[in-house]
């Protein structure tokens, strides 16, 4: 079986805030990659995790399910989860699945880092 076609690089930008740059395909198969990125971002010690979907090429329903499990983990640690870089297509999927009610979506990195409402 082929491995997940995704890379998730972590950048520590300020204090307890980390950005995960997601490139490639987000499916249920990349859960180990996402969880490893979560740990690299600081695990429970991170205060705010920002997902950059600017390099997202494909996502199926398994990928959305995986984001829900990440959300549960973040909520348990009282961490904030944010996202930016979503194209119109993927924004609509977040809205359709109502994931946007739990993961705040921003237009760009600056506002995602600041936690500003756009």
């Amino acid at each position: 079986m082929e491995g997940p076609m995704v890379s998730m690089d972590v950048r520590h930008v300020a204090g307890r805030v980390a950005v995960v740059d997601i490139k490639g395909d987000v499916t249920a198969a990349c859960e180990p990659v996402l969880m490893s990125a979560y740990e690299e971002a600081g695990g429970p010690a991170a205060g705010r995790l920002v997902l950059n979907f600017g390099g997202l090429e494909y996502m199926n329903s398994g990928g959305i399910g995986m984001l829900v499990t990440l959300l549960v983990r973040a909520n348990r640690q009282r961490q904030q989860l944010a996202a930016y870089g979503l194209s119109e297509h993927y924004r609509e999927i977040f809205e359709l699945t109502r994931l946007d009610e739990a993961i705040t979506i921003y237009d760009d990195e600056a506002s995602a880092l600041a936690g500003a409402v756009t």
């Binding site: 199926n60 329903s61 829900v68 979503l86 194209s87 119109e88 297509h89 359709l96 109502r98 760009d108």
Partner: protein
């Protein structure tokens, strides 16, 4: 008086650039045809053989909007032979209602399972009462499809049906990611509901497996509690509870029928 219409939000240069890049590239995302278009509230189609209530006007509910503990339940069955995952999913999509346990009705589109479809359900809950609800086809491709539930359904979440081919044969799988929608359902799930659901999907997979040539295969079930916390802020979901409403609709049926009966003249 003229009102100026303002955009919902002012887009940043980065977001505009992202959308422009997407449009200019002319490349449609590979998954574009697999996702349903965005809907705010469901419309209920006319379908024969089901009551068709508790769907129209309802919003979709994911695990984020549910009340109870969050569960991921996975049911798997291995089909020996040469059936490909694509063939397995094509069969499942085309004949979905036929694999359901007796007494339950799934009234979907005649064309099978396609993104954006709404199917109406009548589920046997005992005592001759049918729970009327529905599901929305959130996602469908050649190797998987996902159904999402509306307000009032037993659970808030989705069920993904998929197939893959490890060396030992073709695996067919149903995976539920859910929270009970409200406190009443949570109680029902705790006291027998989960067991009933396990039996439901095991019977469904067994029926599909039989169609695909696996006469003796056994369904494996794995339940993981992803989040043991209950979301009390969503306790108000009980307002939409389709079980309570279906019970009311069942009790009201004779009265409604009498009212609709034409009065005799003379």
């Amino acid at each position: 008086m003229t009102e100026a219409v303002q955009p919902d939000r002012v887009r940043s240069a980065e977001q505009i650039e992202l959308s422009a890049r997407e449009a200019a590239s002319g490349v449609t995302p590979r998954d574009a045809g697999s996702w349903a278009s965005k809907v705010d509230r469901l419309a209920a189609p006319q379908r024969a053989g089901v009551r068709g209530t508790n769907v129209a006007g309802r919003r979709l509910t994911g695990p984020v909007q549910g009340f109870g503990k969050m569960w991921q339940k996975t049911y798997r069955l291995t089909v020996p032979g040469d059936v490909t995952p694509q063939q397995a999913i094509a069969t499942w999509k085309a004949h979905f209602p036929e694999f359901w346990p007796a007494g339950n009705r799934f009234a979907g589109a005649l064309t099978g399972i396609s993104p954006g479809d709404v199917a109406l359900l009548d589920l046997a809950i005992g005592g001759g009462v049918k729970l009327s609800t529905g599901v929305f086809v959130l996602y469908a491709d050649a190797e998987s499809f996902t159904l999402m539930t509306p307000q009032g359904h037993m659970f808030a979440g989705w069920i993904t049906f998929s197939s893959e081919r490890p060396p030992e044969g073709t695996v067919i799988q149903a995976q539920v990611l859910m929270r009970a929608n409200d406190p009443l359902y949570e109680l029902a799930m705790t006291f027998g509901g989960h067991r009933k659901e396990d039996v439901f999907w095991a019977q469904t997979l067994t029926a599909l497996g039989r169609r695909l040539g696996a006469a003796q295969a056994t369904v494996t079930t794995r339940s993981v509690c992803v989040d043991s916390h209950r979301q009390w802020r969503h306790a108000g979901n009980i307002w939409h509870n389709s079980m309570v409403r279906s019970l009311g609709q069942t009790l009201a049926t004779p009265v409604t029928a009498l009212r609709r009966r034409p009065s005799r003249s003379g």
